[in-house]
């Protein structure tokens, strides 16, 4: 087998690879990750990299003391997850997301935003 044939075979092999299940991670959020805003947002929305299973996915918002402040009404639509908020005072808040993608893999993470 000469070099040309080897390259063809390697290319075909790379293409053949069936890349299987991935995991859902945060793509972007509103309020934005690490942002500082001036008004209390009515809700937090996150856009994940994969479609989610509503039964096993939730979004929570905590204050600096670790108290959960969201309305515990997480809604999932495809890869978008939303939780509504009461009016928040100025301060730093942590958003925690725990999701199961439709390929059944669990992932979780956090990010902060600040209200001035």
């Amino acid at each position: 087998m000469n070099t040309k044939h080897l390259i063809i075979v390697l290319t075909i092999s790379l293409i053949f690879v069936r890349i299987a299940d991935a995991h859902a991670f945060l793509d972007h959020a509103e309020p934005k990750v690490g942002s500082t805003i001036h008004e209390s947002p009515p809700q937090v929305t996150v856009w994940m990299t994969e479609n989610l299973e509503p039964a096993f996915s939730k979004l929570q918002v905590f204050d600096a003391m670790g108290t959960e402040l969201d309305s515990k009404d997480t809604k999932v639509n495809g890869n978008i997850m939303t939780v509504s908020l009461p009016k928040l005072a100025a301060g730093k808040y942590r958003v925690s997301w725990q999701v199961v993608a439709v390929d059944t893999h669990r992932t979780s993470g956090t990010f902060d935003f600040t209200i001035q």
Binding site: M1, V9, L10, I12, S13, L14, I15, F16, V17, R18, I19, A20, D21, A22, H23, A24, F25, M48, T49, E50, N51, E53, P54, A55, F56, G78, N79, V100, A101, V102, D103, T104, H105, R106
Partner: protein, 314 residues
Amino acid sequence: MLWLALARAIHIAASILLAGLFAFRLIVLAPVASRYDRVDRFQPRFKDSWGRLALVAWSTVLVSAVVWFGVVAASISGAATLLEVDAGTLQTVLLETQFGHLWACRVGCCLTLGILLFLGSHELIIAILSFAILASLAASGHSGAIVANAGLLPIVGDIGHLIAAALWPGGLVPLLVLLLGQYRAMDQSTRTFVADIVRRFSGLSLVVVGLLVATGLLNTYFIVGSPGALLTTDYGRLLLLKLALFVLMLGLGAWNLFVLKPRLSRAVMVESQTAASVAPPVQSLVRSVAAETFLAAAVVFVIGFLGSTPPPMH
């Protein structure tokens, strides 16, 4: 992760084998066998082996589906062991997740297939069911979770890829069984029959490589990240391992196609050849196909682990 990967790999392998068995019978064996008057001389032995193999594949699909469901339920709910998964979680996974819905369809198809197989129903219907079981795996994987504006294209690509896997790697096992059962009793008719089977399977394999390229390109477009991540991530290194195994598989396939198949054809074409002189090329082919089958199993084993590892693009 180990149990999840193992259950997944075994389920995928058994599903590929089940569909591959029926595809081999309908696409390779039946058209060749119909050209021979004395089919009954070499068919029954293969039919028995094939029947046992179909039963093993079918029961493995069913058992591994149950285990996979349990392991996934434990993984989703965060339970450390299967015993910690409560009935409520199992019910939620079954009724409220895409995986559960597809799993129920798959198990339903599998049970129906078993009944039809037992009743000796029309093979085409059973074959369609076996491919439905295989195809449903696509939506259980990454393709079903992709957020894209491409609609069903990622799933269609993955289904095509699975079908291709059933036609070629899946067809290696029945080919091996047929070769093992025939090469010892080599009259001229059987020799020609075996050579025709090998020729037809080789032709099919070439077409399947085309299908693999097309569907693989589609998968690559939707899923694969930067090539540089192949060396720097666990996923990338697993992928390279799988790639190496597949390169070996292709090499053996090429050896069968360009060296062993012509050698067998030449031996068969000489009417005066004795069984003893035809046996060596067949034996070489048996060894090569067995090695190819082993490599295909190793590839599926790696796929099981790839499924539990985040790809570089994330």
